[in-house]
């Protein structure tokens, strides 16, 4: 029987040359320690496990050792018995050290996991001038440590899941007890429980399984900032963290929460409100500006001031394409440059950006391929799309630009208005874990306006949003 359990372990871990099987002879019996050196804390293993086993092998008696082992006093660290021997190989590949006891089917494991990880770095994608700079890394324990550093309260709760048939990835759902709506927790729990997947390598793998409705809009908020997660938890939202992912996702969200940046809360309410209004205006421009330009110049030139009209008209002379084609060409070129800029290796990246700048700028205008006002429109739109703090939302806004362009180019302002109505109707209908996506605009919740278009000072924001939390009383 004992041989069988050991055989299972060896059979399952065969062809693993990095596996270490270290035998210790204690009073004529053999105990074997299994571990993979690259994923265990070897210093801890030698100091707290191997050293004691060696001591036992020199002087110890087998019965005393067995007794101590069963009582949990054989080693100065916590260890656990493995009830099902078939679990042993899984624990070994997860970075645990597994001890097999000779002539028994007893297995014990030690929590010796230590993966390679980088140190805590500054946030790269959600920069703030004032405020904390640290960001999550790929190590879940470090991320939880960052979070516990922010919220030191026993009501900070975490629920652990292991997801992925082959990856066995740890996923944590973090929340503050009593704050989130029950249905949000229940939905996340049931979805994670039932998730059957080969493996997950990024938090996006998890998030995709939550998207039941066919919407391109994000129903989660990605963040790499522990302070953003902590603030969201205090709003009554729920956060999902994954081992191996340097981001967390927060749910539920509203469109306006996705347009808020961490920096808003580190600046004065006046500055933050001003920046927020600029951000909202440019977010709208990032969808509508090219289509408005095309619609107005081809269908309704009379709405332009005379001087501007003549300037644009003279710039459009000798351009061989229609305004719509011109806009589509430029927008597609911009998208290609953006994508290339992100993917291209750093040493040649600069060359591409210089060539790209020339292509969509001066040369194209001088060659008479595109007009200068169109370059300005595309540039403003390009800049506007990056003003959106949430990357995925910015991507959707950039994508929506194209259907709006076609609507504006084929039906003028009427097409754009019709498209806007459809988009608005979709957003009104959309929900993120039960939270209306357009709250506080639709439904109208006046108390939430304190932190929407404007950002009032903290003492005035005395209620949590009803979209997120079931406790709305004053924040303490």
């Amino acid at each position: 029987m004992k041989g069988t359990a050991l055989d299972i372990l060896k059979q399952q871990l065969k062809d693993s040359p990095d596996l270490v099987c270290q035998p210790f002879l204690i009073d004529g019996r053999t105990c074997t320690l299994f571990y993979i050196p690259s994923i265990v804390d070897q210093a801890m293993l030698q100091k707290n496990i191997a050293r004691f086993l060696l001591a036992e092998s020199r002087t110890g008696s087998w019965d005393a050792f067995r007794r101590n082992l069963q009582q949990g006093t054989a080693f100065p660290v916590v260890y656990h018995a493995i009830s099902d021997p078939e679990e042993a190989p899984v624990l070994v590949v997860q970075g645990k050290a597994v001890l097999h006891v000779d002539q028994t089917d007893d297995f014990y494991y030690f929590d010796t996991v230590q993966y390679q990880k980088r140190s805590i770095a500054e946030s790269q994608n959600e920069l703030v001038v004032t405020g904390p700079q640290e960001a999550f890394i790929e190590d879940i324990q470090s991320n939880l440590s960052l979070l516990r550093h922010k919220i030191r309260h026993p009501k900070l709760k975490m629920k652990e899941y292991t997801i992925g048939e082959y990856t066995n990835t740890l996923v944590y759902v973090v929340y503050i007890e009593g704050m989130p709506k029950n249905e949000v927790l229940a939905e996340i729990d049931s979805k994670l429980q039932s998730l059957s997947i080969d493996g997950i390598f990024g938090i996006g793998y998890v998030v995709e399984h939550f998207k039941e409705s066919s919407t391109p809009f994000p129903i989660f908020q990605y963040t790499e900032r522990p302070d953003a997660v902590a603030a969201s938890l205090l709003e009554g939202r729920v956060c999902i963290l994954m081992d191996g992912a340097p981001n967390a996702v927060i749910a539920p969200v509203t469109l306006f929460s996705l347009l808020q940046a961490s920096e808003d809360y580190f600046q004065s309410p006046f500055a933050a409100s001003w920046i927020r209004m600029v951000r909202f205006a440019f977010s709208l421009l990032s969808i509508l500006l090219p289509s408005l330009y095309v619609a107005i110049t081809t269908f309704h030139p009379q709405v332009l001031p005379a001087h501007l009209l003549i300037t644009i008209a003279s710039a459009r002379e000798r351009i061989p394409f229609s305004a719509l084609t011109e806009a589509l060409l430029m927008e597609l070129t911009f998208e290609a440059l953006r994508e290339a800029g992100m993917r291209i290796p750093k040493p040649v990246g600069q060359t591409v950006s210089i060539i790209g700048g020339i292509v969509i700028g001066q040369a194209a205008v001088q060659a008479g391929i595109v007009s200068a006002p169109m370059v300005i429109v595309v540039s403003i739109t390009g800049v506007a799309s990056y003003i959106i703090p949430h990357l995925e939302l910015g991507l959707i806004f950039r994508m929506l630009r194209f259907p709006f362009l076609i609507l504006g180019g084929s039906m003028g302002l009427i097409g754009i208005f019709a498209g806007t109505f459809v988009l608005y109707a979709h957003l009104v209908h959309l929900r993120s874990f039960g939270a209306p996506y357009l709250q506080p605009v639709a439904p109208l919740v006046l108390s939430d306006w304190k932190d929407t278009l404007l950002r009032l000072s903290s003492p005035l924001m005395n209620k949590r949003s009803s979209a997120f939390s079931r406790i709305r009383h004053r924040r303490r």
């Binding site: 030139p301 009379q302 003279s314 200068a372 084929s410 039906m411």
Partner: protein
Amino acid sequence: MKTILLKIGLIAIILCSITGCWSKVELDQRIFVNGLFVDVGEEPGTVKVSISTPLTNRLDSDQLSGGGGGKDKPYSLITKQSTSIGKALEYIHKDLSRQLSLSEIKVVMISEQYGEEGIGDLLEWIKREPDVPIGAYLLVASGKLDDAAHLTPIFEQLPTTVLLSFATQGYMLNTTIRDCIVADAAGLGYAATLLQNDKIHSAADAHKSETWTGIKGAALFQQGRLKGTLPYEEAKTIAWAHGHLKFPIYSVQWDHGKSKADLKFTYTNGKTSVRMTPNGPVFTVHLKGRASIIAKKDASHRDVKDISGTIMNQMRETVSEDFRKSIAYSQQIGADVLQLGFLLEWNAPQYWQQVKGKWPEHYKKDAEVRVVTKLSLDDYGKEY
């Protein structure tokens, strides 16, 4: 999925029904008319219509940014004659390679002769033609309309920009086509800026002369006909009463002409009111203004503070006199250019109903118009 397809189909049907593809015209396929000139035709019963358009193909980026280095003029004037304005425009349009866009008309200019024959046809055409903006300004040329239309835009790129500035800069009236239509419908008069042409030597070539156009005064209309004109100084008080006048400069004299001063008004405003009396309505025009003394010559070398009262008295006298003259002339020709009839309609509707039908005659003979000036000095100039 089925529901989504159904929704998309429904949206597509709705969008198709409101689509405007047929009215899609690229900017480089349009000609933007920004000035419309209407004169009597050479044949009786005909009308001569000219359009002024910027030539966008000649406006390169250097010229747009203020370089102005192009040899070719960046504008054109196309003229045709026909029995009606619409027909003349059709003759213009048929010879063009691009589509005429009338929505950019900023200025409608007529000749004095066309005005005297009546601008009813013009107003009627504008009322019916949806593309023409009724906010376009009406100007009247006292000489040949062709000369005014061909003026040399010395400081601007386009002639219509110069004409537009006459209406918008506040040196005279800013009457729009809308004002004319409204006044005509109510049976009231209106005044428009009257321009005159002159020849000046070209800055580029001293042997060549160029057409210069400037403000001459005001043209007074009643029932769609030009009834008379006012000279510049008197016309200014009409613009003042309308509240359009900006920074007028007045000269006053005393000591039998030995002493004089110039005053520049930094603020002007005009208001009209009516009071019903047993003898009929009495209209009062309030002219308010604040001025600075910009020049002074006193024969007795008195300090400006000591003679400021005299200056202001003379000022009030001058303004009142100019206004009285202009009102007297407007009454003489029966043109209610201050649209006092609207005051009656609002304040004494029953009385207005009685006189509405014969208002021009009533205005000519019975209307009593008084002027109250409230002028003050802001400062004595840089001296103080």
